[in-house]
Point group: C2
Chain length 338, copies 2
DNA sequence: TTGAAAGCGTTACCAC
DNA sequence: GTGGTAACGCTTTCAA
């Protein structure tokens, strides 16, 4: 077993590097005979082209960067599945970076990425992100960028999101119809647009049902799971009139379950709960959880598809390429009417 | 905002590329004055070294490859968290590849990786993997390789695993003590060592409790979720005497729940269930699931740590570096005695 | 303390 | 149809 480079392979074949290079890439200007001879020997000698030499020469990395807040989360891991699949189809490699929802880490990653390590970037913003200046740099550098799920509107690029406003409106209305009157809203971030849209859907539903908006019912649930649990328990104790919870992310729905369990509140009798979630096992919870399910896998695929169209056609990613996919409300026992 | 390379930066400074290169890398042979001047201007001009030029020159990629069967799975996503953290600490980038449990895809990925794209590889084998010849090539190429969780013993390298035999023994014994007598075992793979160890722990516990081993109670649950569900339902219908299930992976435990739900078998009254799982929400299931929880995050961290020690010290990864971490059995309602 | 030049492995232009 | 050569951006001898 040996490992050779192009030059050695050429030597072995009694050909020049240029010819071998062309033969390996199925160039039309090479005779079928030599092409086959070259490829056979290349296989025998286990020739593998050095990817960095090619990248250096052609300014093409065949790699995309994926920047995510977390991965231990059904939404993001499904999205990665979609992304990876499209990347593999296109012969691309996937670099993954986790920000753990820290704006600082996101900045650091963006800086790496401006170094030219990738041909394009897919990103879901960290909840800790305030400014998007670091992403502007990416774009100035000419790197296509597609944001998904946790997006910013102040960036002149494509986004792939779900109909957050509408589905939040529906979720809230669902609670109202099930009989809830005092509905808490658990946010994941006050700064990301996703947080705002979900909040506004909630507010609009309340308004349409003539229920006054009460800012004291909106909780920012960022931080660790333990933090969230504590905050939710506090809220439920201070506001015993709460009879419904709308959790804007899966994690907070589950923390709500735990809070209710620990405080002895019965779901759905005392409190009804609905949450965004991509758990396959929502139906196996006690009680089964009413969810708004996002098409996470499709989101990943579409975001990747938009990115690759830009990369391959050498055209910028435009806001006009943005997509909005539909989420689905699945009613289960946690919002059952009594 | 401009983007410059080393030569342009040198031109701007009125210095040679060599000097600037040295100054950027804090070489001792550069005067403090010039070093600071260089670094200041570099920051101003937004200089980012081309990573491929460096890799080509130094034969170092500052990148590791992580090859996984799936990522939409609590165990693997927690492991990635651990891996990514250690990689970031060491200033390394992480390329991720999903095999979807296909041996063919794993081979293809291994081939990419032998191309010199990474400095080392972390891997959990696909259940579809039969031979490990493609991994031998990685090692012959001189690439450090650390296997975790789904490992092969026939490869002369380090592995990070949990005490699968012991915890399977405990899980089975737990079911026996809870009163189960006819216990099905749901395997994920008959070929991976993890499958064998878990099977043998199960068999040993049966043996020690003088219960004859019955091969008809062992089910191979590979394939899609729908496949698994169908197989499990079949088994339960053909063998109505089954009063216990030991699922060797999380997915199969959940499919068992669904099977029982659909067949109207009560857990734990009719059938008791224990499964390997890293779900945070095992306690929220109906009924709450008795689990063997693996230290997934720690496994990822340790595997990465072993890999980086090898990369940084330029020493091979040896079987002697292997680690076995402990899993924890958490008894919950799904195995409660009546 | 600094500079010139070779070379990492590949591709693409230009000859032939 | 094939070969020579320059160039991608960087680091590292070797010289000065």
């Amino acid at each position: 077993m040996s490992f050779v480079n192009l030059k050695q392979l050429a030597g072995e074949l009694g050909l020049s590097s240029s010819t071998v290079s062309r033969a390996m890439r199925d160039s039309y200007e090479i005779s079928t005979a030599t092409r086959e001879r070259v490829q056979t020997v290349a296989r025998q000698l286990n020739y593998q082209p050095n990817p960095f030499a090619g990248s250096l020469r052609n300014n093409v990395t065949k790699t995309i960067g994926v920047v995510l807040p977390q991965v231990d989360n059904h939404f993001f891991s499904l999205a990665i599945n979609g992304i990876e699949e499209v990347a593999q189809q296109n012969g691309y490699h996937v670099l993954i970076y986790l920000t753990h929802d820290s704006g600082e880490q996101e900045k650091a990653v963006a800086k790496y990425l401006t170094g030219g390590r990738v041909d394009g970037v897919l990103m879901a913003l960290a909840s800790g992100t305030r400014s998007v200046a670091h992403l502007e740099k990416l774009r100035q550098r000419g790197l296509p960028l597609v944001l998904f799920d946790r997006v910013s509107d102040s960036l002149n690029t494509a986004t792939v999101t779900t109909d957050d406003y509408t589905s939040s409106y529906q979720a809230t209305e669902h609670l109202l119809r099930a009989g809830s009157r005092t509905i808490a809203h658990l946010q994941v971030s006050g700064t990301l647009s996703i947080g705002n849209k979900r909040l506004h859907g909630y507010m609009a539903a309340l308004h349409d049902h003539r229920i006054p908006y009460d800012a004291g019912l909106v909780l920012n649930g960022s931080g660790s799971n333990a933090d969230s649990l504590r905050k939710i328990k506090n809220l439920l104790q201070q506001r015993p009139d709460i009879d419904g919870i709308f959790a804007s992310v899966e994690r907070l729905a589950l923390s709500s379950y735990q809070a209710c369990q620990q405080l002895g509140r019965a779901i759905p009798q005392d409190i009804k709960i609905v949450g965004f979630s991509n758990m396959e096992t929502a139906s196996l919870l006690a009680p089964s959880l009413t969810t708004i399910t996002q098409p996470a896998y499709a989101i990943g695929k579409e975001a990747a598809r938009i990115l690759f169209q830009s990369i391959i056609k050498h055209k910028p990613v435009l806001p006009a390429h943005s997509m909005v996919l539909k989420s689905e409300l699945v009613a289960r026992a946690s919002t059952a009417t009594l």
